[in-house]
């Protein structure tokens, strides 16, 4: 029954969970190509410009 689990059951039932956590924990940084870095910076600048646009819109409408 689900209510009666010993530690062995828990480990067996969560084996996939533990393995995945272990795998992710060991991962390092993903190498970013210059193109990818440029894209990420573009998206970041996009957000900043858009927030400025929202601020301008709010100031105009007040």
């Amino acid at each position: 029954m689900a209510a009666e689990l010993d530690s062995l059951d828990v480990e067996q039932l969560l084996q996939e969970h533990y393995e995945a956590q272990e795998r992710i924990h060991r991962l390092g940084l993903r190498p970013l190509s210059p193109g990818l870095k440029a894209l990420m910076w573009t998206l970041r600048i996009y957000v900043i410009l858009m927030i400025v646009a929202v601020a301008v819109n709010v100031i105009h409408s007040v």
Binding site: A2, D9, A20, R23, R26, M40, L43, Y46
Partner: protein
Amino acid sequence: MASREPQINRENVSRAKDRLRVVEARVGRRWGRLFWLLIGPGILVMLGENDAPSMLSYAATGSQFGIGFFIPFVVFTFMLAFVAQEITVRLGAASKAGHAELIYQRFGRFWGNFAMIDLLFTNFLTLVTEFVGIVAGAGFFHIPAPIAVLLGLLAVSSAVVLRRYWSWERLILALASFNLVFVVVAFLAPVSWGQVGHAMWSWTPLPGGWNSNTIIMILADIGATITPWMLFFQQGAVTDKGLAQKDIRWGRIDTAFGATLATMAAVGCIVVTAPLYIHHMNAGQFGAAQFAQALVPYIGHIGGALFALGIFDAGLVAAVAISTSSAYAFGEVAHQAHSLNRSVVEAKGFYAVLIGVAAVAGAIVLIPGFPLEMVVIVVNVIAVLTMPPAIGFLLLLANDREVVGPHKSTWWLNVFGIGVGVFISLAGIVYALTVVFPHFTL
């Protein structure tokens, strides 16, 4: 890096119990039972996103544009939301890690901090608007604002008492299902369903054409269906629930089911407010649950009460979901316990963020003279504008074989994903053009 030893703690024992029930249902081929056990994160995220500002956006849409272009457009935006949210199911089930954790792990602290600033900024603003909805909905029933805020905080705090992801999820699912009240009230509205059917395939009419008001409404309706917190919440919930890779198909069904229910509620909200457009009511004068009062002549007092209750409930559910999303992200980044299967003593920081952000947002709503209406209008727009980098990280992670393994996005899933990112980015650019050039039209 040091190896992590499996721990037998309350969180893992609770999760193991949930997994055992899933295994038993799968072995016994009890598919209905399996569906019941594995649904949750997808429905919660989709109905949670039908939050107070979203329902108010749909209400404004119905009252300003009637039945026409926006009916199929809202259906379309939920399809976009499904494309984005399906990725979080794969990421969560394959990595057993939250979204913030993966961004920091794979892209480093520099980019991770940017993502967190976007998330916490939009989450907090949205949370404020949820309390606006809670207060406004309760206002229809003459419940004072401080009591309404307290009710909201009680709902957020339910996780502390329940101390179990499964119980919390079922309680919030029950609350979230009340979002379908908008479908019920739609049938009370004096509208032609033939016109709704016509709008669905023709995408017309669009009163006023493609002017700046239309573009802002388009952006608000996109923001009503796709926001950064949804990515962080669903991946966190999938991980906390303990979904395995075998369960990804069920996670997709859960997400699609949630999107369908949320679409029905959103369309219902547009339909029920359409009589305000037909009778040339000026929607600009309505804020929050005043919509409910304005609708009473068309759908009766019970209909109006149900509408107000729907707004109240939408705020309540989203306040819980968004606070949880912030708490998951905090726990992942701070490497502290972050599970609803933990007690307050075991996860102090997690619960402090969960309740703390909600308490501050609720308190802001009670400040006399705070420009609540302005925040409600702006919040959905900001949510859309901060989405492109979030979609960027999402797509990079979904194509990272070291993270998702065999569940990496296929080329056609990438086409859809990139399509969503490009569409949202272009919508933002068009919005910016309307700000810089007020007479800009498409």
